[in-house]
Symmetry: C2
Subunit: 153 residues, 2 copies
Amino acid sequence: MTLYFEDLTPGRVFKAGPVSVDATEVHDFALRYDPQPFHLDAAAGEASVFGGLVASGWQTAAYSMRMLAASELNTIANGLVGLQIDKMMWHQPVKPGDILTAEFDVMGRKHSRSKPGFGVVQLAWRTFNQRGDLVMSLENAIWVATRDSAAAA
Amino acid sequence: MTLYFEDLTPGRVFKAGPVSVDATEVHDFALRYDPQPFHLDAAAGEASVFGGLVASGWQTAAYSMRMLAASELNTIANGLVGLQIDKMMWHQPVKPGDILTAEFDVMGRKHSRSKPGFGVVQLAWRTFNQRGDLVMSLENAIWVATRDSAAAA
């Protein structure tokens, strides 16, 4: 079962997850990509604006991508190819031990003017913790092949 | 030397990098967070819209964060605390062996209405490869303490 532009009707919702926020993974990611004290050390986290050790916001995005890539949306014909991200916000800290889930809502779509056989689909990502708190949200334009183009190939 | 809101005058530019895009790191990141064939396998990459194995767009963001966290901006009093990302775009594929640099431009700023002693600073991130091609750009609002608040503490 392959998803094409025609299948991504506005209002359709794809649920994904859960993933567990692993303490070792949080430490490794921070050390490589975002080595700030509040991502690496419990005492520094407690002294920070977050009041505790928190995952890098980029790691929350990466975990959300993991959930997206394991969702039904991973059957999009040409893969998950992002064009643009807007309104990416971190609403609540994410901490080791949290369990995340995500929802991907189709907000709108349009055929490409520059590339026949493709369209741009607008997705809203929302990531939640185990208490149902929204921890991250964003809007994401992706590039999706049309079924017509596949039939013609 | 600590940076406060007052120091981040519009027009100021912070340069950062380089970082090398390491083939093992690209593979590990993709396996964990974005396991799509065109991020994991050379043949699948060649058959994809990218025409070759490419790093996850989220990894390019993570490498850019690494450069930011190693730049002079890592001396911001309260750390690098992101509020929002907009207009994040991937302009060119990033491939193993590429060497990335980044520029962080102060675009604007305003005092916080809700939290005295803090302000919001707008940064433009631009990430380039070794040929000078822009590979990623975004706009990022960050949360920065004022010098006045530090003096009063």
